[in-house]
């Protein structure tokens, strides 16, 4: 670490770790509900509370990871301390309070009841204030900095647009179709739009650090990826507008542009591997390399390929609203954003603490267990989803009769989830072992920096 203010990132990373552990626990609750033991939790945590908690914890731990990444990356990229560490800490604690209140609220029927945007309205306003404070700090730092790199700008643009796009989700509509229409402006344009910018920015940063390839080369790729993201992702929103009361032309628009969406992820995967092969620097943090390359590959499979597997309108007609969606959702979020945050944390922790706990066995085991477990879970969801489509949608079996047939897949799911959870356990254990950041970890800011030449 080169700047003292980067230390604030640790708080956000630690919060991410806490929330992912909770997210996994709530995942187990839902899995157990699904194999016929819903009586265990029903009175205390009904399925809808578990589900809202599970998905919202995901969103918050990813956002917390992105914010931590930004607080870590921006000072280093712009060669400038954050403008206020105190305010950054205040922003952290307010984020934590909002997130914890929301999660507790879900257990007492306090929510908005709109998928992924369940946060109750009064807390929405606090989210807005919180994000404005965060953006103020990042933009303020960039403003007074000597340099603004493409990587830093792409990351910041992603965060800025993500904040703006939160707003359409706060408008009330009497019409369910309109409600849904704008809900996707938030959800889709986040995960298949501006979050990809954040992803591109963080990946570029990590690749610059790990591979040692010239910034100019890496940042050129970054432009291509942004181009592909906007080309496909924006009109790709159309795949949410097939069957919600919106006109038929979305079937064509959504179909074509969704089919192009994997390109951005393919671009990122090719980019990561090309840089890895080109890189001459042998960075000691091999685990960071694993998670970075892993993120690029798994996001292409989970978000790209499994996405296109059910966004073709003729397929989606049958799979829309079934467990096939859960199949895609799990590997996509894990690959694209979960692994990205993990890569960032694994890279940053030795730098923040000055402890060279690189490449421990536990770290390796965490990587493999979590990934193999998640692939197993995705496969179980796929089996359950396809069976559901045939039994319920094609053959016309009653919903619960079909669900009872699917139970066995959820036993497999829970097995795979146990592997995944063990992987997360190892990862979090490693994180805890690093401990908090230390001032001794500060190294001379100028040491490794070459002046950046504009071309």
């Amino acid at each position: 670490m080169k700047y003292k203010s980067q230390k604030v990132a640790y708080l956000f990373f630690a919060f991410s770790m806490l929330l992912i552990v909770l997210q996994v626990i709530y995942g187990f609750i839902m899995g157990i509900d699904r194999i016929g033991f819903d009586e265990w939790f029903h009175d205390l945590i009904p399925f809808n509370a578990a589900r809202a908690t599970h998905t919202n914890l995901l969103v918050v731990w990813l956002l917390s990871g992105f914010m931590g990444a930004a607080y870590y990356i921006i000072p280093e990229e712009s060669k400038c301390e954050l403008i206020s560490v105190k305010l950054a800490k205040l922003q952290f604690y307010s984020l934590a309070i909002v997130a914890v209140s929301a999660v507790i609220g879900y257990h007492f029927n306090w929510w908005e009841g709109r998928k992924f945007l369940e946060i109750p309205r009064p807390l929405d306003y606090l989210v807005v204030v919180n994000v404005l404070l965060f953006l103020g700090l990042i933009l303020g730092t960039l403003w007074k900095a000597q340099q603004r790199t493409t990587t830093a700008m792409v990351l910041t643009m992603g965060l800025l647009f993500a904040a703006l796009l939160y707003l359409p989700g706060m408008i009330w509509f009497d019409n369910q179709t309109m409600d849904s229409f704008f809900r996707w402006w938030v959800v889709h344009l986040w995960v298949e739009g501006v979050w990809e910018l954040i992803m591109g920015g963080i990946l570029a940063y990590l690749l610059i650090k790990i591979t040692g390839v010239d910034r100019e080369v890496i940042e050129k790729w970054l432009y291509v990826i942004i181009g592909l993201t906007f080309l496909s992702g924006v009109l790709g929103t159309g795949h949410h507008y097939y069957y919600i009361g919106t006109p038929k032309y979305w079937l064509i628009v959504g179909g074509i542009f969704s089919a192009l969406e994997p390109l951005a992820f393919l671009g990122m995967a090719l980019f990561a591997f090309a840089m890895y092969r080109k890189g001459e620097q042998n960075h000691p943090n091999k685990l960071a390399l694993y998670w970075t390359l892993g993120c690029a590959v798994v996001s292409f499979v989970g978000a790209g390929l499994l996405g296109i597997a059910h966004t073709l309108p003729a397929v989606n007609m049958w799979t829309h609203g079934t467990l096939v969606t859960a199949m895609h959702g799990h590997l996509a979020f894990w690959g694209a954003y979960g692994m990205l945050v993990f890569a960032m944390i694994v890279y940053a922790m030795p730098e923040l603490t000055g402890k060279n706990l690189f490449n421990t066995n536990r770290g390796q085991i965490a990587f493999w267990l979590a990934n193999i477990g998640m692939i197993g879970m995705t496969t179980a969801f796929a089996a359950a989803g396809v069976a559901q489509v045939y039994l319920e949608r094609k053959v016309g079996m009653n919903f619960m009769d079909a669900q009872n047939e699917l139970e066995v897949h959820f036993i497999v799911l829970l097995g795979a989830a146990s592997m995944f959870a063990a992987g997360i356990g190892f990862y979090v254990y490693e994180f805890i072992k690093f401990g908090p950041p230390r001032d001794e970890a500060l190294i001379e800011a100028t040491e490794e920096y070459k002046p950046i030449t504009e071309n």
Partner: protein, 127 residues
């Protein structure tokens, strides 16, 4: 560029086509109340409507057609959790008025033109 096309198509959809497909004239205060109750209780956390939500409990777009008013009301007003084939639903013990609002909401939803969703089962055994 794609963003401008997206905004244009969105504007066209919402101003021209969505009104034809969703019949806003039928969105009565009761339907709106139904939507509020739907959201207050996070029904989407188990069920889906227009195929959106969770996949733990039945799709409800056509529930009015499938179950009828009486059945829907009795499930929503029941003091004991509904779940004849496993998986308990929360017993909401709704008032007659609220349950009726839900029925109206489902009735409206069932009439929205969803471009053919949910599809008719095409492999249904003849019996």
């Amino acid at each position: 560029m794609t963003f401008i096309i997206f905004l244009g198509l969105s504007w066209h959809s919402l101003s021209q086509e969505v009104p034809k497909q969703t019949h806003p004239e039928n969105i009565t205060p009761e339907v709106i109340r139904g939507k509020e109750i739907w959201e207050e209780n996070n029904c989407m956390g188990c069920h889906s409507i227009f195929g959106e939500g969770a996949y733990y409990a039945p799709e409800l777009t056509k529930v009015y057609e499938r179950q009828g008013e009486g059945m829907i009301k009795s499930i929503l007003m029941s003091p004991v959790p509904w779940g004849p084939k496993g998986r308990k639903m929360v017993a909401y013990e709704m008032s007659e008025e609220d349950a009726k609002a839900m029925v109206e909401f489902f009735k409206w939803a069932g009439e929205v033109d969803l471009n053919g969703f949910p599809p008719e089962p095409d492999l249904k055994p003849e019996n």
